[in-house]
């Protein structure tokens, strides 16, 4: 599959960091879906570089809608969105081929593609490729909103030494607040401080993001092999720097007994709920109507400004170098809109992949 994804929806992305442009083709969105393209732009802005906490590379990340949309509505044909690259500085990256950067894709891409890839700026591996994902995700969210209300938001569970507690059962209103916040956590000043300290040291930090989605109806997903966890995790793990994914209580399950971990069903205001949400809204691979909750581990940015050792692949000698260029001391905050976006893509795809569930939801809507 590679650059195309989806069992009903089809999303293809293309482009390289320092090529002519990047973008996506998104096929399968419900015809006649009204799109608020300013909200799409707002999401892309959350991810875009800029500000004291991020890379100095400036990219407006303006998207041209080449096809599939007319007068603010989808017209059944695939949506193509194109983002031109305006600010390439490929000389920063000349050392890629003979000195593969530690913990980057330089070496693996070199081996896989037999030397035939263009890795300047990370090439097709660049985090920049997540910009079209954010656009696609917000379109999917809006498409779901034709059928039910969907709120998504994230907060920091951890960033370096900073920790906070899991949500378990968040309210939609908190998700909306977090989606507006620059640093969605209880103590943003502390987090800013930790990031700036890493920046000062020429180092980087990672973290764990908890994302939640309210409004997803019960019945999406499958037992084998397309559990809702599988679908969401598949896309999360294609986001650069994501190295761990857990649902609900995630790793905390290992310390719980069954009697503590099980979520009891109950009736609340006439609605079937579980009184706890350790399963993160997913049981047997299928959504149960509770908030979908998942955690993503983001590793510290691989590009740091300290001397590092790697192997010169031409001479096969070890060499110590210090990377140049513009890099984020912490990619966690910019990753958040991407994590949220890909979960929207996964969920909308899961919705469309089950025509029987979709038809019943559609029926209900019209009542």
């Amino acid at each position: 599959m590679s650059n195309t994804w989806g069992s009903h929806l089809h999303l293809s992305i293309f482009g390289e960091s320092h090529g002519n442009g990047i973008g996506m083709v998104l096929d399968g969105i419900e015809p006649g879906t009204r799109l608020d393209l300013e909200k799409v732009a707002a999401q892309m802005k959350r991810r875009a570089p800029g500000g004291a906490l991020a890379t100095a590379r400036k990219e407006a990340d303006e998207i041209e809608w080449v096809s599939g949309i007319r007068d603010g509505k989808t017209i059944a044909s695939p949506i193509m969105g194109l983002i031109r690259n305006t600010n390439q500085r490929s000389s920063d990256y000349q050392s890629v081929l003979d000195w593969p950067r530690p913990s980057h894709a330089d070496y693996t891409a070199y081996i896989k593609y037999n030397g035939h890839s263009d890795l300047s700026g990370g090439g097709h591996f660049s985090g920049r490729l997540t910009a079209p994902l954010v656009a696609a995700g917000e379109i999917c969210r809006q498409a779901m909103e034709q059928h039910f209300s969907v709120s998504v938001g994230s907060h920091l569970l951890q960033l370096a030494e900073y920790h906070e507690a899991s949500w378990n059962i968040p309210q939609a209103s908190i998700l909306d607040q977090c989606r507006q916040a620059e640093i969605p956590c209880d103590d943003p000043d502390r987090v800013r401080e930790l990031i700036l300290k890493a920046k000062e040291e020429g180092d980087s930090v990672g973290g764990i993001v908890e994302t939640a989605i309210c409004g997803i109806p019960a019945g999406l997903g499958d037992p084998f092999f397309d559990s809702l966890e599988s679908r969401i995790a598949h896309l999360l793990f294609s986001v650069p720097a994501v190295k761990g994914v857990g649902f609900g209580a995630a790793g905390d399950f290992a310390s719980m007994k069954g009697s503590e971990a099980n979520d009891a069903f109950a009736l609340e205001h006439g609605r079937i709920v579980t009184t706890t949400n350790h399963n993160g809204g997913i049981e047997g691979g299928i959504s149960n109507g509770m908030p979908i909750v998942f955690r993503s581990v983001i590793k510290p940015t691989a590009s740091i400004f300290r001397p590092q050792t790697s192997l010169n692949l031409k001479t096969m000698e070890s060499e110590t170098r210090t990377i140049q260029g513009r890099h984020d001391p912490c990619i966690v905050l910019r990753a958040i809109p991407v994590l949220e976006a890909v979960s929207m893509i996964a969920l909308y795809d899961a919705l469309l992949a089950d025509p029987f569930v979709f038809a019943r939801l559609n029926d209900k809507k019209e009542e």
Copy 2:
């Protein structure tokens, strides 16, 4: 996709816990691959029920090879393996429909399939469906061995209060030992004790398994959307009870600085390696030739023998009941061969999905 998986290889599974049988169709294995079917049986035995630590349900789990194999070799057509169900006790499960068991698929299956599923014994959601996965995984491992040597093994990082350290860079010999062990960890007695204690209390415990694979060449996987992490995690998250997956340092990345987390390239005995393996053998979504290392969080078995509250879906009243039947106080140990198996499936599929890399590996082999 659902019950079929794979971008090159195609694996379909079928069956219900209390139906006539379960099994799998595996299509795409290299023609002429010599199979050691006793080794396949040995892996299935690791997963099979029985023993003081597991459910009392007895199933021989003998597989009939209906097609695709002749004289111990694959013959290009799909491999069909059929396992008859011999030991159904469906009366144990009669309460499924009116009292959805907490943290099971009862409720979500009911909603998704509009009441039209057969959930006795878990139906198609049963852990029993992982038996054919184990067979498929061992076949994939043997198929890879035609091209390079593959060792896989797992140990417990955590089980209830028990913890041990991560492997980082394991040797193949340790993996082989773990694959033979009943309880692969440093202190099996302590773990046995914890499981038996849970059993006694009518409760259950979960854990974290670390699996490693030695021998996978560099170059498997993709950046978007089929990173090697995505491919492996997709299958892991379709295994019942898996609620978290991490690669390499996984959640520990959140506490590391970039300068600690980055894996430096070096030359060792003429081979390009990294001196640490925090990335778990995968960079930019592609294998780098180091051991593939991942962690799977297994939640405590949902079936416990204590009174629990759920909702009678007919009366919409809360009811407190105690589940009957035969269940494992801890599914972690029986899950291990399944986790190993699905990683083999994911890796062989990734290998075949890149004909260019496959052809180069094939060339080398013949030199």
Copy 3:
């Protein structure tokens, strides 16, 4: 893809002519669909060997429903149907490897699988593998009937020197009659005579079948790349011996002017129709509500009882031999239920692949 097919539905087939059995896994049928398994058996009987016009090989072709069905209804999990092979005579086919039979798959399978296939009785290439397709097709037809009435039937456009006219706009009642007939054409005696003459001569004959389907609603299919023609033709061309497929006027279009070929829209009894049906019910790759009409060219059976020349692949010498075994002098009649079946599979898949159209049809049904 290979032995698995479908964009929403998933159908896998397995087995070899002279192995332990053949069968299929069919995943994605609407849960709770009531199945008339006797009608499935009746369709399989149409295809089964036997009778003066067909091969002397006797196979009861009884299918065991291993999973996915309970009390005559689908239960959401994949349907597995297994047919045991009872009447193998592999000694008939010993010459396969050193003398590839003309116009068979012997040579191409040998090259593709590097000698590692088992071709006795045609192996996985055998027409016998179409038996599970017939079962799958009838299940799909019954599944569609939950939503709208579907009639399918075929007649001979040509068989050797025999010709008859195209249907253009057939009535459902004619289709039902044809589906009952042993030789569905205007002059069955003439056709029987032609087949028996070929048999007597140790030769074989081919033909052209026209199939029509009444009841398919407008809106199924896509422009690129899954036109309804693409979907149906894809499956038809996987049926052994099919070498041509055309829709509506098919090859006759080449002799028509646009002014003759265009189908005019009109209102008939309050329903939008076209007054002619040269497009065979499909415009722009999408069904228009008129009968779907297509032609399949079936080549003369490759197995004939006359001396033929082929190449001994060991000696690389030409050799003249006469094939032994049990073969049909004409496969056209036995192919008909297969052609009908795969069209049902393609159409049901196309229906489920568009959740928006499906939901609207579902709405209408419930009014």
Copy 4:
């Protein structure tokens, strides 16, 4: 699947006739493939409108290579090619919604997309969408040429009253000549005359094209469900106006006996061949090393300049109108490069879909 196609290769197309642009994303081409982009442009020119025999719409059809190519070589990331629309005249098409044009997609698109498509100029259904297919096909041909030499060419079997004989076993040199010819047939003057006569009458004509491909090695394709015929036909039937596809003798098989139709194996200059090629280079769904030969039936252009009757969908009254706009009296000649192109896409995909065959071919090449 819809706008994305391929089992290994992935091709997505996007755009509408009168939108901002059209194009394609092609993913999976071998990294490091040297591309002759002028040859790509030359193929696109064959398809482009212009000349006395075609529509008066002028489109330069210049493609911008946005990603995936650098310095004339592929760099492993997806190839995106964008063609801007420069010559829209949407007022020509205003009548689409209330008067669906006979034998067009107007009505079916209206029903399928519930009125939410933009059909001006045919929208996404326009023949214009085949321009990126031609580019993709020529890239695939060049990619195959890294491994073996591939010639493709076509001639007219029929155009209105004009007929000529089938090729059976063409030479590569003839294919090359045909690929250069404006009207590839024995009597181009006669064909030109027939087309101009139809144009004069405001009418249109159809035809049958025979395409052949030399150089494809044995071993590509599968028995079920991805026979080489299925793969090629799937793409051919997504080309607008294609209503029939046959391989080798195609419809002529119906008049042949087995003893006439069977292709005998023989040795010729040390190469295994068949002495006739009625199977069109494909046996059992797999290429046999002989030229791949297929026929495509192209229906007469639906847009004619004569009064036609259709139904006003608002008033449900019949109305007689005469279509305005710029249309081809015969689309057969412009379709030829498209038919050739999609066959290249299907074959390259089939090659990459079998890593075992690919690796063996690769081995041979390097000897």
